[in-house]
Symmetry: C2
Subunit: 126 residues, 2 copies
């Protein structure tokens, strides 16, 4: 298994940038620990460590919108990765937007740059 340098952060978590395999759009950023890294490599489905729930998180486990990993890039210091993925369901963000980065800085305001792909209430049932 490819070794990452989990010692680089105090909490043992490293950032994983998620990029759309077809468009190159940055979809989200989440964190991985050694277990999430292992599961991602093993299964080809993006796994993270949920900081809020403090548990292993298979992205899409509740929505069904999993991320199929096409490629994984590793940076020069082996402390950040890029998951190049196919996002099932069309949206990576819990708000229903395709990307979590759906707002752009416009002077002192944030401007929303696209419309949601799905209604979160329907997908998550709350």
């Amino acid at each position: 298994m490819i070794e990452l340098d989990f010692s680089k952060s105090a909490d043992g978590l490293l950032p994983a940038i998620v990029q759309d395999y077809a468009t190159g759009e940055v979809l989200m950023l989440a964190y991985i620990n050694a277990l999430a890294w292992e599961k991602s490599l093993e299964t080809g489905k993006a796994h993270y460590w949920s900081r809020s729930r403090q548990k292993l998180w298979l992205k899409g486990e509740s929505s069904g919108h999993i991320q199929k990993i096409h490629d994984i890039l590793v940076d020069c210091d082996a402390d950040t990765v890029v998951y190049v993925v196919e996002q099932l369901g069309g949206a990576a963000c819990h708000t229903g937007h395709r990307s979590c980065f759906y707002r752009v800085v416009d002077g002192d305001r944030l401007q929303v740059k696209d419309t949601p792909v799905f209604d979160p209430a329907e997908v998550y049932g709350h």
Copy 2:
């Protein structure tokens, strides 16, 4: 000024993903604190907080290879940003590669996927 949620990490640092404005390639990831964020917004040049040197870091201050910010995207939780930049000098990585993510997972190996744009010894003089 746009507020980010610096309370989300124990050390007050948030990840900034850097993406090439022309190609969409992910070039690097670095960290920002409130000061680096303020300087980036103010000057339009990417500033970070250097974790190794524990100081404000204007990317390109020694190499001259600054990053001109074209757009800044903010995520749903306001705890991660994307700097969409024009990378002067053609390479973001201290190794001379265009992107820090120049290696791709290939089974149990990392395969280098491109050649350096510059010779680090010439640019950094060491």
